[in-house]
Symmetry: C2
Subunit: 424 residues, 2 copies
């Protein structure tokens, strides 16, 4: 336990039945993913936006110095975890696409709908027609819902603009949300999400536009930290992806890849080659890809909600990735096409059922490892002295209830930057 | 549209973008399940606990006579449906069973856990040790969560007592919840849920206890409307089920059967033979069973959450049941063992993805047909003059968002017995 003589406690959380600190290795691989740093009857002391002491409630009591206006919250013997981190989201869109969902039920594939002008391209048409203020309000609702489900930080992608102007508009919405809402948003430029209608017949020109105009503008305006690409059969080839991502790296952006989602194209291998921060999806990752991921620091961000909502039989090989030693994270993939959910706890249930991940492994995957997937392993994802004071009080007695009790919201209170933002 | 000159309107719901009335056949079979009685720009007038007029907002406006204290709610252009009905729930239990969930992930089957003294028998031990007041508080929390997800009526089973005293205790909890909470609960006696530990070696004696003591006591005290049984390999045989259910019918109880869940044992056929109100689960229903269900009024209550949470590959043959003309309803099977969820909307998502049911079919299955599964087709499940004023305002523009936008709560306001009980 650590305490601090100089700083006054502004928030004290007491009577925590199970305090899931996630203290331990960063990132977590293999059996380390089962380590959740559990403290029974715990307490947490916070000063301002930072955690300054964590430990057994009875030991902590005498050692901290509450400020006059210190807020004291009893967790009522329940579970506290770090605030969850959702490392792969597309929250900036203009409209939901429920009609396509019903078309898929009737037998159309995701790619068939895309070829017919639906899919990402339909979201592009709507986003271009929506003004920035309306887009902001729509996106704000999405991230507030995420937070109500225990998420305190997200990675947020553009990618429904696919023109210089509409991509910058999307990234400005993300920046403004980060500035105005308690949620931390880490922005990703995803101009290479699809070829827009006007470039269907001249893909090379669109790639030039991304490299020569979009990436420089995004970097210059400091609107994104990451650059991502949909590397997939019928979208961007591995070679096109390498060119675009290399340009992004040169411009100072970190790299992510939508890899091996629908077909095995070598996306994971490319991610490791380019030292990407993460390779995401990985439903069809090759054996070579798994071996390479296991030896790298590139985080494998798995999205079981997408396989679920697309009605696919296959999911990413989570058990093999974990047993081989890859750094595994989980995410909603929240987007209006293939995974319309804001709930990361729902994804934890799906990870249990479809990926055979335990509650402890999934907790590692949405805290410590998800923090690494947004390059914030040093600051987020653990309840530990010096870390950002983001945490969730859950209405449950045992953390294993999280995957088991599915489809409902078990959040009692969300604390972000040392302040209660929801519930309580 | 109907109006009523004599009764004052106490609640008026206006500006309904999509009013899903569910007006039409009761019950609904085959293509009728796609009929949802949609009115665009609708309004509903309620007097006391009853709906007295439904129609286009502009036509209704001049025809109703608001009381002085009439509450007017704008649905803001959103979707309104009847309150959902969950026709198969086990809400009276003492403890969650998250550890068994993790055992199943590790490869143990539901039946292996049951044989080792887990499963229903572990819930029985905990329920017997829990006093009635505590059990009431625990169960109240469950049904309040259900209501927050848009459910206004449920069927509620005993079945974790398995002694005369503990079964009556469970049924008294259900009765008290029905009396004290806005939720309508229709009680089902499920003493034949499993053989309790003390009768493992003398099953015949337990059957005698059910027939000679439990059923007469339940009937005499008027504590249940239905009698259900877990007709399954290793639990109650078809012959034992026939004896118990026949005794229940003689005592004036209506019949339900947990049928063909894990193995095909002829449960559906027995349900039709006994004119059961419903046959539930049906994952392994035989072709003969399907044909018989299609020609009967016995409702096929499908529970896709249970297949999902047990990680099974197989689901009930919903499409075949619908195309052959069976009356299909959906339910959570909310219970601490095989399906820990209170969310019927979650089940609608699972019905879409795993049973290939459209949004319209699922709406029929949780309103009109679910009402028939609790023998209330005349009073619940439709927004129509003379029906009970139970309805939900959803935060969505199109009813098809219900299955598509998964794992989160889209309820804006729940209205039960003509009063706002949640949200709004």
């Amino acid at each position: 336990m650590a305490s601090n003589q100089n700083r006054k406690i502004t928030l004290l959380i007491n009577d925590i039945g199970q305090l899931v600190t996630m203290q331990g290795p960063v990132p977590r691989r293999g059996p380390e993913m089962s380590e959740i740093g559990l403290i029974e009857n715990g307490a947490i002391a916070i000063s301002g936006e930072e955690i300054i002491a964590v430990g057994k409630a009875d030991e902590l009591a005498g050692k901290v110095d509450p400020a006059e206006n210190c807020v004291v919250i009893s967790a009522g013997g329940k579970v506290v975890t770090p605030g969850l981190i959702d490392p792969h989201t597309h929250p900036v869109f203009a409209r939901t696409r429920e009609k396509e969902f019903e078309m898929r039920l009737a037998g159309k594939s995701y790619m068939e709908i895309a070829r017919a002008g639906g899919g990402i391209r339909s979201s592009v048409r709507h986003l271009r027609d929506t003004d920035e203020k309306e887009l902001y309000e729509r996106s704000k609702k999405t991230i507030r819902t995420m937070m109500s489900y225990g998420v305190t930080s997200i990675e947020a992608k553009s990618g429904y603009g696919l023109s210089l102007e509409a991509e910058l508009k999307s990234l400005r919405v993300i920046k403004k949300l980060n500035d105005q809402e308690p949620m931390d948003l880490f922005a990703t430029f995803l101009g290479a999400h699809e070829f827009p209608d006007e470039y269907r017949d001249k893909p090379e020109e669109y790639i030039e536009l991304i490299i020569n105009e979009m990436i420089p503008a995004v970097a210059k305006q400091n609107l994104a930290e990451f650059c991502d690409i949909f590397c997939e059969d019928e979208v961007f080839t591995v070679e096109q992806s390498r060119r675009i991502l290399s340009a992004a790296k040169q411009a100072g952006l970190k790299i992510k890849i939508h890899a091996d989602e629908i077909k095995s194209t070598g996306g994971a291998e490319l991610a490791v080659e380019l030292k990407a921060v993460s390779a995401d999806h990985l439903v069809k990752i090759s054996s070579t890809g798994i071996e390479m991921m296991a030896k790298s620091n590139t985080v494998a961000v798995l999205l079981p909600g997408t396989s679920f909502a697309l009605g696919l039989d296959q999911s990413a090989p989570a058990r093999e990735l974990i047993s081989k030693g890859a750094v595994v994270a989980l995410s909603t993939d929240c987007n209006p096409g293939s995974s319309m959910t804001e709930s990361l706890p729902m994804i934890i249930s799906l990870a249990a059922i479809n990926l055979k991940m335990t509650a402890a492994e999934s907790l590692s995957a949405v805290t410590v490892n998800a923090a690494c997937a947004v390059d914030r392993g040093d600051r987020l994802g653990r309840i530990e002295r010096g870390m950002k004071a983001d945490m969730v009080i859950w209405d449950m007695d045992d953390y294993r209830e999280l995957p088991y009790h599915y489809g409902v919201n078990l959040v009692e209170t969300v604390i972000k930057n040392g302040k209660v933002v929801s519930g309580g």
